[in-house]
Amino acid sequence: MTMIDGRRHAHEGLLAAASQVLQAYYKAPQCTSRTKLLSMVVSGEELRPMVELVGALEDSLGREGAASVFFPLYMDYLCYKEALQRDDPPVVLILGANLMHSELGWNCGACGFKSCAEFNRFSKESGGMGLFGGGPSCAWKTIDFCIAVDYACAAAHLLNIENRVQATFGAVAYLLGYLEDASMVLTLPLGPIAELWYYNRPSMTRLATYQEWVKLMRQNYTLMFQMFSSNMHPWVKDDGPWWRKEHTDRDVVGVKKDEGLEAVIYEARGKLMEIAIGMRGQVQEIKQKKGLIG
């Protein structure tokens, strides 16, 4: 009676699983009982603008540039890209909430203001936007939102679906305006049908050679690999027989200003904003087509 490819069948079940995960998301207990949770399910073609944004960033900054300035985003991008190439794209849950307004009146001070009224006034007049989302945020609403997100993760875990909650693509979804009213957005991809897709990241292994990974580690973990430090110029131990190296070849730990790095980073961030603003129209179009906005 039935003969279907198993992997395909599992993939088609992701959308049904998404509804169960979202049921858990909305059922989560809250500290305030007042946090309004927003969400959207995106899959297939509707997912493309998110992936294409990072693709456009890569085209504009080059692979090296995109990977070095937005490394975590780039890693997640590779996971999405390869899943799309395998024709096994994840069903992405975009979860968000507006945390920039508080009607609680608790005046707890966790946000840094003396009262909720002061917080609301500041939020309205000088609330800003960072790399991931908007602020200031009400701490208790943040806790509520994250409890709900955790419920969604736990539900996905119990359903044995590959998933990972991401702030990187949450930021992309935020910039593209998938959820208009949210100040904090996180994405929870369900699928592809694979193990440790977003953790061991099989899509990453081909990105660089072993030597390049070692170099990256040494750049980031020098403090853990340093030698006697009290000569004020501690050497950094190398992969392999570092003791045989000439003194002149050795790297030492030090702090110095990297001229121009800040400029590169801020230019890249500007580029990200520019591309995102250019692509917002696409998302609005999709939303209009799906009847989500008038």
């Binding site: 207990p29 005046n107 001070g109 840094g112 800003g128 960072g130 991931f132 908007g134 806790i143 994250c146």
Partner: protein, 242 residues
């Protein structure tokens, strides 16, 4: 539940949460009393009712789990995320605390004008949310009742539970036939089970004192039933059978 909290998803995989399990009549009473004290000393009319009725729950719970985040004030995530306000270099948090060598001075607790010494790194606060979510999920899986509370967390913090943390949430756990943390009506701090039982006890004890000497009453009653002194307490039929 605490294990679930420790294994919850966390930004950057960095440990951030500490937890304490508290139980016992004296300990819970102390927490409840602290909540009632805070209800009035915080000088916030909105919190008086919330704090006092949640104190009832602290007493009714079988135990209380405190979860705190010890990185929210001291070690921000340093990623320019913008959730605290959107200023570059996490300046919003650093600017409002005392710092030395780029580190926030956690020993400086003098500036507190509010119950919590914010601003906090909202990514860390969100991580605490993830941990609480996992603990609650585990409670749900174990079929016990649990709910997160600001009031209980604040009382715990002031009493020195999770002392490395700057933000603590209280999670009372109960295994009763009725979930004591929901279906709360008005003036619950006065009209609750404990008060009701106490009121019944008080009125019953007063009312029963209106009765006459029970020994005389029974004698009269048995005489009327046809019994006599040795067979008091038996009916006429039973006496005849003998």
């Amino acid at each position: 539940m605490l294990n679930a909290a420790l294994t919850a998803p966390v930004t950057g995989g960095v440990d951030h949460v500490e937890g304490e399990i508290v139980w016992g009549y004296d300990e819970q009473e102390e927490i409840a009393r602290k909540m009632e004290e805070l209800a009035h000393t915080l000088k916030n009319k909105r919190l008086v009712e919330i704090f006092t009725y949640e104190a009832v729950m602290a007493r009714e719970a079988d135990c209380i789990l405190f979860l705190g985040d010890y990185r929210s004030k001291e070690t921000p995530f340093d990623v320019d995320c913008g959730y605290c306000n959107g200023m570059a270099g996490c300046a919003f948090v650093y600017e409002r605390h005392k710092t030395a060598m780029g580190q926030i001075d956690a020993t400086d607790r003098d500036l507190q004008e509010t119950p919590l010494d914010g601003p906090f790194c909202m990514i860390r606060v969100g991580d605490l949310g993830f941990s609480i979510g996992s603990a609650l999920w585990m409670a749900k899986t174990l079929m016990v009742d649990c709910r997160p509370f600001y009031s209980m967390g604040l009382a715990g913090l002031k009493l020195g539970y999770c002392r490395n943390s700057d933000i603590v949430v209280g999670l009372p756990v109960a295994t009763l036939s009725k979930n004591p943390f929901v279906d709360i009506h008005y003036n619950y701090h006065v009209v609750n089970m404990r008060k009701m039982v106490d009121a019944v006890r008080k009125h019953y004890i007063i009312t029963r004192q209106a009765g006459p000497d029970y020994r005389l009453v029974s004698l009269e009653r048995f005489k009327r039933m046809g019994g006599d002194e040795p067979g008091a307490g038996r009916t006429k039929d039973e006496g005849e059978k003998e």
